[in-house]
Symmetry: C2
Subunit: 323 residues, 2 copies
């Protein structure tokens, strides 16, 4: 495969990415909506969208699911469901897609479908539906937890169809929060290091993760977290993939980290145990052919992708450079 | 160059990254402090650090600079400077490094050194000092803008030496905010597309950038921003580097994007103009050998790195994969 210096190569690179022919997209990615972010402050545009829009209700962070699809309903059907914040998700085929928080109702309304916990919903929904509802969950949850101005304590007003809040007293603007998290798999030769977090169910081992702190690059954060949690020193770091994770508002940024030796020492606080897994054994575990009490993360998580891609793609993590 | 499957290769990868032999680190990266994040809630540990710590004062977001270095002072010297939030930055050689907000003073205290605007300071400081002060600015500025609970409006208390705020009424915890921003250079063959933002000085062209929105992967955000701002469709996207940018709390995530054609259409709102630049001409401009009124971003910005690395490193952006 050659770098894209001629027209056919360019088309290849485009196709490779547009259609994602090899890999199933990560859960919550690939939202098909045009977010129309330049039009959110345009009342005429919004009035047009609202006139024939569709809206998915959320009851206490659980989206409506109808027959295995995101439960987008005609506006008229939503009018009496609740009075929580309503946010624009985006536009698809000219139709505005919105989400409505109906958490103030004592019980979820009956007869519409099921209100499913978001992870459970993501497991059964088509990827595009999961992505739209993940966006909705992150936005609605942000409103619940950010009704007051962090600068002066005054209740704020919703603007831009749910994408901004403005303080009527001090005029501070507040935008939905996205928290970058690095998640990384240390690798050395044919082995990768996985850890067991205190909060994990018994037997589950996964990649290491932590929030990026103020003033850190992604690479600085990867090194710090691996040093703190696993006591392991790493050399090269390679970005692999990213995934929005709306619990409540994380952006998972997946990386490989080149371990300089097999030495490690878990912190005993957040990470209770860690172990090196051989690539062959990881493949067997992923295929369900190895039953020894050790479990790896489920496909919904980017940790699964980091581990699986490393175990099954010979070229990862460190692609050979051109000569 | 081969993938790291044998010991010598592993050492190479480690050295390559640890020592960064080729590239000057990005401004604000490479903070030498151990952030001691697992010890922030330990009063005995903190008392020890405070006893012999050093502290850099900030007056209205401007750090103290003394003789071209970060102005870390002994604690005793800071006692009468101000009573704003004090945050732990980290530990270096056993010495705690802190930052103190003295913005409540009418004028900056005289006789200590200069209080410099952060960008101006970063231009003259050693990289490690700029990184420490960048971290400090992001943290202190977060406290200024987040004194109240966003969930219930009550004034919050500082915890963990400045790394957490807690609401005494509803018990909500609040953590410093980091806003991920994608910044990307569309490339096609031997040309890259740069744009002129409405806020840029005359003649300045740079990479395109925008905040990652709720529920977006980095790749989704790159595609959306390029579509919105430049009307350009891209195929493959490749991560390049990241940079904390404490104005006030951004994390810049730099990528290359494979344009599928030269067609583009700027939005006319945020981006006023765009143009394709040939690689040879970019090299000349960076070397100061081309004076035609077009300027490229300064070395402090990751946009400079994206453009320069693309123009000077033959293997970027799309590394050939191993056969």
């Amino acid at each position: 495969m050659r770098p894209p210096t001629s027209a056919p190569d360019i088309v290849f690179w485009a196709e490779k990415c547009e259609s994602k022919p090899v890999e199933k997209p990560l859960t919550f990615t690939g939202n098909p909506l045009d977010r129309a972010s330049l039009c959110r402050a345009n009342p005429a545009f919004m009035a047009g969208l609202l006139a024939n829009g569709r809206m998915v209700p959320f009851w206490r962070q659980a989206p409506l699911v109808v027959a295995g699809r995101a439960g987008f309903l005609p506006f008229a059907q939503c009018e009496e469901l609740g009075d929580g914040p309503c946010v624009l998700l985006g536009v698809l085929d000219g139709v505005g897609h919105f989400a409505l928080d109906i958490s103030s109702e004592e019980t979820p309304p009956a007869g519409l479908g099921e209100f499913l916990e978001m992870r459970a919903a993501a497991l059964i929904l088509p990827p595009a539906d999961a992505a739209m509802l993940g966006q909705a969950k992150a936005l609605l949850d942000w409103h619940v937890r950010h009704r007051f101005c962090a600068q002066c304590g005054t209740p704020t007003d919703i603007a831009d169809i749910g994408h901004r809040r403005v303080c009527p007293k001090c005029s501070a603007e507040h935008f939905p929060r996205t928290d970058p998290v690095v998640i990384m798999l240390p690798v050395l030769g044919d082995a990768c290091l996985v850890g067991r977090n205190r909060r994990f169910p018994d037997g589950l081992y996964s990649a290491f993760a932590g929030f990026v702190e103020a003033g850190e690059s992604l690479e600085d954060a990867v090194r710090r977290e691996l040093s703190e949690e696993a006591g392991i020193k790493v050399g090269a770091i390679q970005y692999h993939a990213s995934q929005p994770w709306p619990f409540p508002s994380s952006l998972m940024i997946g990386c490989y980290a080149q371990a300089v030796s097999r030495d490690f020492k878990v912190d005993g606080e957040e990470i209770l145990e860690a172990r090196w897994l051989a690539k062959d054994d990881v493949r067997k575990r992923l295929a369900g052919e190895m039953e020894d009490g050790i479990r790896l993360p489920a496909p919904i998580a980017i940790a699964h992708r980091l581990i699986r891609d490393w175990a099954t793609q010979a070229r990862l993590p460190f692609v050979r450079e051109a000569d």
